[in-house]
């Protein structure tokens, strides 16, 4: 099987790359820095004897996406599944963020992902699409408002393509992630424990053939999100300021 992993060079993407390679799948891996991709390619090819192709891709750049040869129809037709373990954040992501950064956040976290999926759906009648959202997308926030808005958009988009999958043999999984042991949460003091990326990547691999499924990881976020959904937002705004 051939899988395309976008955002493969670090964190969850890197772990997913190893998990899929260990299970003897050929890979096309994409990220912004060629050095990281070549290191990953060499390591995987030496250890797991699978074929790995690399392509530099910047999800914040329309030009990079439009000109990427991996994303042409002929190549996409050969791909059995696409994974999007991507997430762009800025430390100064607040309501007054400058336009360029707002665009970068929405492109990397939502619109570029949606565009690649639309291309993939356009040329495939069967395959797998795996996306990764965030629990932050379930609540409007004072911190990271543009990140969480774009993740909420992505969540909604995956629900929409779920309808599409009914017509075709497309399997769709969407993971809503809480805190993970990655460099994004490195050194941060968090209320809840971080989930293991290794464990998550194994779950993702195991579930890759499920028709349509939404998962929470770590699992306890399902209950937290459920509670957040029940409570009226005006009450959250008034009484749960710590959720900012």
């Amino acid at each position: 099987m051939n899988y395309l992993i976008i955002g493969a060079s670090s964190g969850l993407g890197r772990e997913l790359t190893y998990t899929f390679a260990k299970n003897k799948n050929n890979l096309i891996i994409c990220s912004r820095d060629k050095r990281d991709l070549l290191a990953l390619k060499s390591d995987i090819e030496n250890k797991h004897k699978v074929e790995v192709k690399t392509s530099t891709l910047d999800l914040t750049s329309e030009e990079s996406i439009q000109s990427n040869l991996i994303l042409d129809q002929e190549t996409l037709k050969t791909i059995d599944g696409v994974l999007f373990p991507v997430g762009l954040m800025f430390e100064n992501d607040k309501v007054d963020l400058e336009l360029e950064k707002i665009n970068n956040l929405s492109q990397a976290n939502f619109s570029s992902v949606a565009f690649i999926i639309s291309k993939y759906l356009g040329c495939k009648s069967e395959g797998t699409i795996i996306g990764f959202g965030s629990v932050s997308g379930y609540l409007g926030r004072e911190l990271n408002p543009y990140y969480s808005a774009s993740k909420r958009a992505l969540d909604s988009y995956f629900e929409s393509i779920g309808f599409n999958s009914k017509k075709k043999n497309i399997k769709i999984q969407f993971y809503i992630l809480g805190y993970l042991e990655t460099n994004l949460s490195f050194g941060k003091k968090l209320i809840l424990p971080k989930g293991s990326v290794k464990k998550l990547s194994e779950i993702v691999y195991k579930n890759k053939n499920k028709k349509f499924k939404k998962y929470f990881f770590p699992f306890w976020w399902r209950f937290i999100v459920l509670i957040i959904k029940i409570i009226p937002f005006s009450m959250i705004l008034k009484n749960f300021r710590f959720l900012k």
Partner: protein
């Protein structure tokens, strides 16, 4: 995303003599090495943090933890060459190369050490008498330096920095990747001959006999009391061709919990030594031994270190000229008799190579002592420092985290040359560890 958060954690050196709050960043991408290096004026690179002395940690420097840089970048079986990232552990490295019947013999006794750390300390193994140190196998290094950027180091390119980097304790920059020349390893097991030793002098005779032999030799001697001082066993392990081509796999590290009390005392040391001595006398000689047992003798024996408790141990590893060894040991015994230090381990092996800069290397005999960390032993170690100066002995600054600048300067006669060349290369002296600050390197 650029995450400017630091991890602040309390960490100790392996010998537990240094304990401090450190600031750490853990790069995963090449760009992050560049970005994180800009965050502080002083930096130091850390691997597995298994070095006895605090070489990869410092309370005033930002620690760059390179564990995620653990990939194989290039492998050429024909040329027997491999390029790996510095954070790769010896176990991960060997699990790959041994599958191709290749390896490097200059490996320290614990497989969870990173190769970047092994190069920065110019590590040696049980065959150091014939194979020397890891320096012999290093063909190329890529470092990242905060001011100089990415540098290729080899005998052909930036040779001076290349020489400063091997055994340079990470002070020339962050070692990011290393190219090794590999050696054939068609053997899978060892045949070990055990010889009973009555005194240290017996061991010296055996060591001399084995100087140019392709064997892994070391001695284990008792030092629990004056009467039995030097009594022990001499081990001579030779690689054995195994017809059944079995796969060697180095297991993952297991963490064991143990109370923080020191359980080594006069009684337990004596008991452990007598038990080990008896065990050796019951073993067949020659006997077949597994790769793991000979090359990594500490695997599965982590309890030995745990038994030193929260105060840890002091390992004194000394390179002594052969013609001075007997005289040194006589004087050592003289002070031993009066001071009665608690020594848990005493061992001898051959070492070969050329001493330069601050490298622990030379055509000498390597003597190792493990001391319980207490006041009496610390006083004895001060005497030992004086003996080092008197006999021109090289004490390991990688093992002994107690050595002061005076002893270091007097024993490491090329230290000033290292300092001069380092400051010429790095005027701001960016890369600093606790060891480099203490020894003013």
């Amino acid at each position: 995303m650029k995450n400017n958060y630091f991890k602040n954690l309390y960490i100790s050196s392996f010998d537990k003599n240094y304990y401090s709050k450190i600031t750490l960043k853990s790069p995963e991408k090449y760009k992050e090495i560049e970005q994180f290096s800009e965050l502080k004026n002083n930096l130091i690179t850390s691997g597995s943090n298994f070095s006895y002395a605090p070489l990869g940690i410092d309370s005033k420097s930002l620690v760059l933890d390179m564990k995620k840089f653990n990939r194989i970048l290039h492998f050429d079986k024909k040329k027997k060459e491999i390029t790996v990232e510095a954070g790769i552990k010896i176990s991960e490295f060997l699990n790959f190369t041994l599958d191709h019947d290749l390896w490097i013999p200059q490996l320290p006794g614990y497989p969870y050490i990173t190769l970047g750390g092994a190069v920065a300390t110019n590590s040696h193994g049980k065959s150091s008498g014939t194979d020397g140190t890891i320096r012999r196998m290093v063909k190329k290094i890529i470092i990242y330096h905060k001011d100089h950027g990415w540098l290729n180091l080899s005998n052909e390119e930036n040779q001076e920095i290349f020489n400063l980097t091997i055994g340079g304790l990470g002070l020339t920059g962050t070692i990011v990747s290393i190219t090794f020349q590999l050696e054939d390893f068609i053997f899978k097991d060892f045949i070990t001959i055990r010889k009973k030793m009555v005194s240290v002098k017996d061991c010296l005779i055996e060591l001399k006999k084995n100087i140019l032999k392709d064997t892994f030799v070391y001695s284990w001697n008792m030092a629990q009391d004056f009467e039995n001082f030097g009594k022990g066993y001499f081990f001579e392990s030779k690689l054995e061709k195994n017809i059944l081509k079995k796969k060697i796999k180095i297991p993952k590290k297991k963490n064991i919990f143990f109370p923080s009390l020191c359980l080594w005392n006069k009684f337990t040391i004596k008991l452990a030594n007598l038990f080990f001595y008896k065990l050796q006398s019951l073993e067949k000689s020659p006997s077949q031994e597994e790769f793991l047992k000979v090359i990594f003798p500490y695997v599965g024996k982590e309890l030995y270190f745990k038994m030193f408790g929260s105060k840890g141990l002091i390992e004194s590893q000394l390179l002594v000229a052969e013609n001075k060894l007997e005289q040194f040991l006589d004087e050592f015994k003289f002070f031993y008799k009066s001071e009665k230090p608690l020594i848990t381990l005493f061992s001898l092996k051959n070492m070969s190579g050329e001493q330069a800069f601050i490298r622990f290397e030379g055509n000498r005999i390597c003597v190792t002592f493990d001391f319980v960390n207490n006041k009496k032993n610390l006083n004895f170690l001060k005497i030992l420092d004086k003996l080092c100066i008197k006999y021109g002995i090289l004490p390991s600054i990688i093992k002994d985290s107690r050595i002061d600048k005076i002893t270091f300067d007097k024993c490491y006669i090329y230290a000033d040359e290292f300092r001069e060349k380092l400051i010429k290369f790095d005027k701001k002296r960016i890369y600093k560890s606790e060891v480099s600050r203490r020894l003013e390197i």
